[in-house]
Amino acid sequence: MLPSTASRPATAHTGQTKVPGLFVGMLRVFEHNLISYRRMWLTLASGVFEPLMYLLGMGYGMGSIIGDLSFRGDVVTYAAFIGPGLMASSAMNGTLFDTTYNFFFKLRESRQYDGMLVTPLTIGGLVGGELSWAVARGAIYSAFFVLTLIGLDLAEPLHALSAWPATLLTGWAFGAVGATLTSYARAWTDFDIMELIVQPMFLASTAFFPLTVFPEWAQSIVWATPLFHAVDLTRALALGTAGWSDLVHVAYLVVMGLVFGVLARRRLSRLLLE
């Protein structure tokens, strides 16, 4: 039995019909991920719980030793201090995981992207869709964080909510960097190098200590790292002390996301359309 021509999609067979465009392409890639991950909700769930464990363990455990801290002149509990910091870090980790390990797998191992590109999907749609998915995944993690901050009374509900968009920006900026770096990776072991950069950045990012504990020379180094901007912005919003000066953080992350987004797109065209 031959597939009936009755089911022939209206889009096929005529030269001037509408072909799905960039935005639709992104949506399809997103949907593709959604279906793939439907059976992997456990993987997703682990991403929610890990940073929460940090918050409970460090925030309350260490917090009882450290006591209160001052952030921009306000005195806050240690848990309230690290909560937003961990929220920003988990947004980074969520997207980085997708745009590094998962991206590499589909790019080099399963070569799935090659298969997706013999459809009307373009490289722009592919990169945009994968990045949006990564950001959405990070956004789910940070949404749980927002609820936790509110539930544990570590932030005013409205302030906690206002910090949520900052984690989307964070996820996008780091996702674009992750995708770009992954395009240079040749083997799985190359990601060890990335861990060597990410881990120290995480520890020094002011997620756990205020910037002022560092000596002056080290402060400027920390200030230059992207995670510092993500943490400081998220914390300022969550603790309700955000001001115009925080736009510097926004600008840093936006520029990072744009520059690396364009780079990732260019790199992938070179790799996939050779």
Binding site: P3, A12, H13, G15, V19, V24, D114, G115, L117, V118
Partner: protein, 324 residues
């Protein structure tokens, strides 16, 4: 080289002096061909001949280095998306999504072509029937056998009702039954007016399916024609196959039976070809050639006289076997 044009009308694919460079390496080195609507066109050639490279350029995922290429009347560089919307592609290696079920592998791809979810599901069920995988629709892809994966790839390539399907070695790894099923399905598509471009290492497949074919070697087209016309014009009618006992490894001893057969053939003014396991002697009258060889004291362990095939055409033209 004469162009055997099957039908008139705008060609579905038209290549003129098409070149593909990978760095310095000329994977495709200036080829000309056209594929007419409804035609089944085959590309043969040894490993590395440039078949897949040509297919990738046609499917717009590999930029043309130089020369002209038109697919469905459009320019791949400018109209890639529009071309791909009307194309079906079965790559040489199956690229299936292991995180999805068999059916989802089709429905998810259908969405990239703009089908609604209902249409996609309907289409997937039809196509799975078509390649006889309906009973595996809800299974995971990983445990499928190689031949089943291949059939799924083929089903997936048809999700958008393509006008042109590119099949890169579609039957490699299929058992004879699956291969015949596929041939039959390709015939059906052909009857429906779908244009097919396929590569293969199997001569019988090319003879069975192709209206026209090209033989490629080292990035160039060596010859072009219908399977029959190539056999008739490029090769002798008969081929005598002579097999000898195990030759000593790496020796070219003139006493060696194979070498003696080659000399004898030369004396008889017959062309011969020495393969690792046998010697082929080309002659229009196989029986007479065999008798002549016997007169020259050629005694093979076994002999066979058969009609020439496409494989012999290829050997004649390039001195190499198709499957290396």
């Amino acid at each position: 080289m004469t162009l055997v044009t099957a039908r008139t009308g705008d060609p579905v694919v038209k290549a003129h002096n098409l070149v593909k460079l990978y760095g310095e390496h000329r994977a495709v080195d200036g080829i000309d061909f056209d594929i007419q609507p409804g035609e089944t066109f085959a590309m043969l050639g040894p490993n590395g001949a440039g078949k897949s490279s040509t297919m990738k350029m046609i499917s717009t995922v590999s930029p043309v280095t130089s020369g002209e290429l038109r697919v469905l009347g459009l320019d791949p560089a400018a109209d890639g998306r529009r071309i791909r919307a009307r194309l079906g592609v079965v790559p040489q290696e199956d690229i299936l999504d292991m995180a999805l079920t068999v059916r989802e592998n089709i429905t998810v791809y259908a969405r990239y072509f703009g089908l609604s979810r209902t249409e996609a599901r309907h289409r997937a069920d039809e196509l799975l029937q078509f390649v006889q995988l309906a009973d595996r629709a809800d299974d995971q892809v990983r445990p499928l056998s190689g031949g089943m994966k291949r059939r799924l790839s083929i089903a997936r390539s048809m999700v958008n009702n393509p006008e042109l399907i590119l099949l890169d070695e579609p039957t490699t790894g299929l058992d004879p039954q699956a291969r015949h099923l596929l041939w039959e399905r390709l015939y059906q598509l052909k009857r429906q007016g779908v244009t097919l471009l396929l590569t293969t290492h199997y001569m019988d497949e090319a003879e069975q399916l192709a209206d026209r074919l090209v033989i490629m070697d080292r990035g160039r087209i060596v010859t072009e024609g219908t399977p029959r016309s190539l056999i008739e014009t490029k090769c002798s009618r008969d081929v005598v196959e002579l097999r000898f006992g195990e030759p000593a490894l790496g020796t070219d001893d003139p006493d060696d039976g194979a070498a003696r057969a080659e000399t004898a053939a030369a004396h008889l003014r017959l062309r011969s070809e020495r393969l690792p396991d046998r010697v082929l002697v080309y002659a229009d009258d196989g029986d007479r050639a065999l008798a002549g060889l016997a007169e020259h004291d050629v005694s093979a362990a076994s002999t066979l006289i058969r009609r020439a095939t496409l494989e012999d055409v290829f050997l004649t033209l390039t001195g190499r076997t198709l499957v290396e």
